[in-house]
Symmetry: C2
Subunit: 337 residues, 2 copies
DNA sequence: CTGTTAGCGCTTTCAC
DNA sequence: GTGAAAGCGCTAACAG
């Protein structure tokens, strides 16, 4: 059925070894033979078998990408960036999604899924357990994280503390003093520290400004709109005065808070300022002020580094901080009064 | 470095063939030997080489998934569903994203990316060109589309015409007579008919109700929020009276229209009703009335069928219509007056 | 129930 | 510059 390298060799009247060299652009092949081989291969519609060359070389030209979800803003865009550079370099992208099972027994990622199957692994914003990390390092394939720090391997991400601080400084600069917070990452996310970093920056900024951190002005979500609504409800329903501003751990949560505020007739930004982190696709249309980051670029940068490492550039994968930027839109203004 | 089947065979004092049978759960192996092999394999940390077995069997236990984007609602969720059933069945998911290059020369999907690499291909809501379709069918691997009809292969999707009609009937039932439309798919999407089907249903419903289809009440977008805003602006800015309702080709566009309406002080649903299709994650929080579909289920269903087909159940992949449902929330009401 | 023996299709020394 | 031949690790007859 499939035409093999032998067919090409026969047709071109050369050995399989020569066909192999010619097709891969290796030296030690005369231009005449190379041309001949190329034309015969094209004519026959020859496509090399990845399994065969994988077996022979030990490399699969496939990169694994491990994600907690594919249907969430950050991951979708990061994967898109990764896919693009992989494609440009003739690499395949093997996707492993935990589908939300960030922890627990339903979580099904194991070393065996990866062994002898991929040349390197990109881990997206994921807290790997000690055991998983151990297994992964044991496979000895290059590893790189994207979207947040992961112990034991380098990563590509923004300085979450600084980003959150920039958001807080914006609010503080506007004159807000009663600032609430929708935090991300409800529970134990193991080694994944992003939500905690952002929340820590909130507390630090408040204290630095000499402001009180009121527990009833902090609510936890999981980075989604739905949870943003839930967290906002919790804060809005709390007895006592409301904050004049909300710093949200993600744009989705910020948007959720905006929806809930609108539902209650709380005017934004007149009565309440809202700022998020991400610059989600919905943020510009909704007029949300945010700290923008570009997961697509993160993916590209990470994949590029990993490819360089595979190409032999030892040390090509290093921790690298990506830029972020405050984008002021219409959800923030000085506090009322 | 890697421990091979021979190592296991040696340690277990059996032949490689026996190890192979034992590990794959084939018959004709005594329980005693099977147990022995299993324990030795575990002890040695043996993991079979996909390349080797792929070479030997001609099957890779990998399914390809071709998508126009991974960072869009429908696709992200569909991929999640696909990934899950693949994982449950020991299959790998090789992702091919066109990254938005739905057409044009930057589009890089070719037969060679697929040949000898995957056992089957899932094509997500994508209009393949005649040439691509020809190449794909030429590879003779099972094909199945998800999210919309693709000529030449079966598919899993909702009846878009009926879904759009349900949305229109809701509006009509509420008493609306001036209904505008945000259509999807701006330009030539080749063989991808979903946007056109929805728009056709709009026209048909209008005519059936004896209502005028006004060109200035129809604006085209590309299914995204940003385009929804743009299209809404176009309609809102048109001279003459405004429609009292908007039927949008996707929830993202509907949400964009809602943002724009809010910006202009057009009250929803008092002055304007908006209905979409999808039940996007943002729809419930935003209170958008919509026709809900479940891409995650579509993905699961499609992957399951393809796997069955691969397992030998000829004809397992057939056209199958998935359910949809009107979800009434707070963006629709009877027209003013 | 188990072992032997060919490959699967490609890469890679090592000769020539 | 080119060819011969030995694998890479596993599966699949075919014997026994």
């Amino acid at each position: 059925m499939g035409v093999s390298i032998d067919d090409v060799a026969a047709q071109a009247h050369v050995s399989t070894a020569t066909v192999s060299r010619a097709l891969r652009g290796l030296p030690r092949v005369s231009e005449a033979t190379r041309a001949k081989v190329l034309s015969v291969a094209a004519e026959l519609g020859y496509v090399p078998s990845p399994s065969a060359s994988g077996l022979a070389t030990g490399r699969t030209r496939t990169m694994g990408v491990l994600v907690p979800f594919v249907d969430r803003w950050y991951f979708g865009h990061a994967i898109e960036g990764i896919d693009q550079v992989l494609r440009e370099n003739g690499y395949n992208l093997l996707l492993f999604s935990l589908g939300g099972y960030v922890h627990g027994q339903k979580r099904s990622f194991t070393e065996s899924m990866v062994r002898k199957q991929i040349d390197a692994l990109l881990v997206l914003s994921l807290g790997l357990s000690e055991e998983e990390l151990r297994q992964l390092h044991h496979t000895e394939i290059p590893l790189l994280s994207v979207g947040g720090p992961v112990v034991g391997c380098s990563g590509v991400y923004i300085d979450d503390g600084a980003a959150a601080t920039a958001a807080m400084d914006h609010l503080l600069g506007l004159g807000h003093r009663r600032i609430g917070h929708l935090s991300g990452g409800v529970q134990d996310e193991r080694n994944f520290k992003v939500p905690a970093l952002r929340t820590l920056a909130y507390r630090t900024a408040m204290e630095r400004a000499g402001l009180e951190v009121r527990p009833d002005w902090i609510a936890a979500g999981d980075f989604t709109v739905a949870e943003g609504v839930r967290a906002a409800v919790q804060i809005f329903d709390a007895p006592g005065e409301l904050p004049t501003a909300l710093f949200c751990g993600s744009d989705e949560m910020a948007l959720g808070a905006m929806f809930e505020a609108q539902r209650r007739g709380i005017r934004i930004p007149e009565e309440l300022s809202v700022v998020g982190i991400d610059d989600h696709d919905f943020s510009a249309p909704a007029g949300l002020t945010t700290i923008a980051q570009k997961p697509w670029h993160h993916g590209r940068a990470a994949a590029t580094m990993l490819l360089a490492e595979l190409a032999g550039a030892t040390g090509a994968t290093r921790d690298t901080l990506m830029p972020f930027e405050l984008v002021v839109r219409h959800s923030t203004a000085p506090p009322p009064g």
